[in-house]
């Protein structure tokens, strides 16, 4: 039972992981994008639409990333270049996504999508316990294992990451350095949007294998919360994403095992757990917040 929950944690947490990594990149550059909920949603629909039309799920993922990036681009224009409030614009972005996906998504609702199947990795997949938990998933999960350290490296070991983090801590320093903080933030936000789009694609193409309206159901908001308690660090964000994957999976596992727990209590659990964890951790985490987070240039 525990192994099933852990395996489900990875499977269910990966879409949130991608989105939260994207949000980490964006917030490290100083921009809170609550619209991640919307970018995920648009990414999910775009990935399904392209997969259905072309029959190629990889093109679907690419489309998801592209759609997420495009929507984040709108957000970047409004907040970074026009000085609009980040929270308000984020919520507007969610509405935009709700509207766009209902405008373009109606014909894809319900149908099954030929997405990513579970691929058991040779050798690794046969390991006791670990094999089942980590190595019997879809390809996008395996890719995420590599993406987490890659994002860490980009943020903390590359020149790009240094510029990006400076844009989030002391944007005015970048100016002195001859780099436009607005440009750095824009790149970060759009990259973050692409990540959230991939998260949506994973949700639709690997987990649900279908499109339904509003299917992200708050995962994007959870991703934003995760970044806080992950202290803006990819590895901790990953741990958080799996914790929430676990809480999402818990319900179905308990039911299969005949444990009677109210469905709605279980459905509320990921959100309650997020709040509880924030309460426990936030005092410690706050100091890690980028200094210019949420502030306009």
């Amino acid at each position: 039972m525990l192994i099933t929950i852990l395996a489900g944690a990875v499977a269910g947490g990966t879409s949130i992981l991608y989105a939260a990594l994207g949000e980490t990149i964006s917030e490290r550059a100083g921009v809170i994008n609550v619209g991640t909920e919307g970018t995920m949603l648009v990414g999910a629909l775009a990935s399904v639409a392209v997969t259905v039309e072309t029959g190629n799920a990889w093109l679907g993922v690419l489309a998801g990333a592209g759609a997420g990036a495009a929507l984040a681009g709108v957000f970047a224009i409004v907040t970074i270049w026009r000085g609009g409030n980040q929270l308000a614009a984020g919520l507007a972005l969610m509405f935009l996504a709700l509207g766009l996906t209902s405008l373009y998504g109606a014909s894809y609702v319900g149908g099954n999508v030929d997405g990513f199947d579970e691929v058991k990795l040779p050798l690794l997949g046969s390991l006791p316990v670990l094999g089942k938990v980590l190595f019997r998933h879809d390809v996008l999960v395996y890719i995420s294992y590599a993406v987490v350290p890659a994002v860490w490296w980009l943020l903390f070991r590359s020149r790009w990451g240094l510029l990006l983090r400076t844009a989030g801590e002391r944007p005015e320093t970048l100016l002195a350095y001859g780099v436009s903080p607005a440009r750095v933030r824009t790149v970060a936000v759009i990259t973050g949007g692409a990540f959230a789009g991939v998260g949506g694609a994973q949700l639709a193409l690997a987990l649900a294998l279908s499109w339904s309206e509003g299917m992200t159901a708050g995962r994007g908001f959870i991703a934003v919360a995760l970044v806080i308690f992950g202290a803006w660090r990819p590895l901790q964000v990953m741990a958080g994403a799996y914790l929430f994957g676990a809480s999402i999976t818990l319900g179905s596992v308990l039911q299969v095992n005949g444990v009677e727990v109210n469905q709605f209590f279980l459905d509320a659990l990921p959100y309650v757990l997020t709040i509880v964890v924030l309460v426990v951790l936030v005092r410690r985490q706050r100091q890690y917040a980028p200094e210019a987070l949420g502030q306009p240039l």
Binding site: L96, G218, F221, V224, A225, A268
Partner: protein
């Protein structure tokens, strides 16, 4: 303009500048809304819908005839209250994205009271009790986020957002479980409200009296924020928390009070929607009303009077959306695009004329 005299030169120049500014402001304002309409029109055009025809249908379904305007006012009532629920905390520098959950919890509490009353209770008595329960429940829901903010330093924007989902599950728990109407053909609905528990309608506006309640409350909120000590202190806290603390204000209590009032307003909005329109508790009763109201408050830059106008505008768009399905065969949710674009365009517009 009094040309000829030398003295008249200065004031008339000033007047001209003001007129020019006003004209510019108005033009920008019109331009923004036209831009939003054009952008949304372009989107629906890609779905082979004629935008002009669509806008005509939207116009006709909301502003003409006897049915449409009443519907807009019915919709505007919860939008106004939930919009004020954003504006009041905003005065103290707090972000309440929890209107959705507070509406749901408010409606749930009102539903509980209605069930408890059953067929007993007079009309006024029932409605007052339901409204009170809704306001208290909404205040508790937002107060939770307020306490988390003060005691746990948890960002209230995030906690109110997450509580929306918890609230939706609380409602679902009741309507699928203990409150499920046995006579409801298995539908997850509570027992329908009785006549005495339903907001009266007023033929002059072709709708229920929720809009009157909302307008009265908006006037009270406007007065409280602009003319009372409490409103002034909230503004101090919102302006500079540290300075307010040093000036001896109890910053924590003030912030909490702003959250509580906000939640109470949204909760009341939930009761009005429930009692005036729905008549029956069901999942999805708030249907993004709370988020829409959040947009309304931002459109209005959190000024209570303007929140009323923005809520009316968004109610107009939302009700027009209901007609899209029939007139253009588009999903009603497509108007979310229009709402979003309006707000994005407005947010993109740096303030050119400082508000007084």
């Amino acid at each position: 303009m009094s040309a000829g005299t030398v003295d008249a030169g200065r004031p008339s120049l000033l007047q001209r500048i003001d007129a020019w500014r006003l004209a510019k402001g108005t033009l920008i304002w019109i331009g923004m809304y036209v831009a939003a309409l054009v952008i949304f029109g372009a989107f629906v055009a890609t779905r082979s819908v004629d935008p002009i025809e669509m806008y005509r249908a939207m116009w006709n379904s909301t502003l003409t005839g006897s049915y449409g305007p009443g519907q807009v006012l019915n919709r505007a009532a919860p939008f106004i209250l939930a919009g004020l629920a954003v504006a009041v905390p905003a005065r103290a520098g707090l972000v309440n994205i929890g209107g959705e959950g507070q509406i749901i919890i408010g409606a749930t509490a009102a539903g509980g009271v209605a069930l408890a009353l059953g067929t007993s209770g007079g009309h006024v008595e029932s409605l007052v009790l339901m409204g009170l329960a809704a306001a208290v429940a909404g205040a508790l829901w937002s107060g939770l986020a307020g306490v988390l903010k003060l005691k746990g330093n948890v960002d209230e924007a995030i906690s109110t957002l997450l509580l929306n989902y918890v609230g939706a599950n609380v409602l679902s728990y009741f309507v699928y479980g203990p409150w499920k109407d046995a006579a409801g053909n298995g539908q997850p609905n509570a027992k329908p409200l009785t006549e005495a528990q339903t907001l009266p309608t007023w033929s002059a506006i072709n709708g229920h009296i929720g809009i009157i309640i909302a307008l009265v409350v908006a006037a009270l909120v406007s007065f409280a924020l602009a003319r009372t000590k409490w409103g002034f202190q909230l503004r101090c806290v919102g302006g500079n928390r540290e300075a307010a603390r040093r000036a001896g204000l109890s910053v924590g209590l003030l912030m909490l009070s702003a959250m509580l009032v906000g939640g109470a307003l949204a909760g009341l909005g939930g009761m009005i929607q429930f009692s005036g329109m729905e008549g029956q508790l069901r999942p999805g009763i708030a249907a993004t009303f709370g988020y829409t109201a959040f947009l309304a408050s931002w459109l209005a830059r959190h000024q209570p009077g303007k929140v009323v106008l923005a809520a009316l505008l968004l109610a107009l768009i939302a009700v027009a959306g209901d007609s899209l399905q029939i007139s253009s065969n588009l999903p009603g949710a497509a108007v979310n695009v229009l709402m979003a674009v309006v707000l994005l365009v407005v947010l993109s517009q740096r303030r050119t004329v400082k508000a007084a």
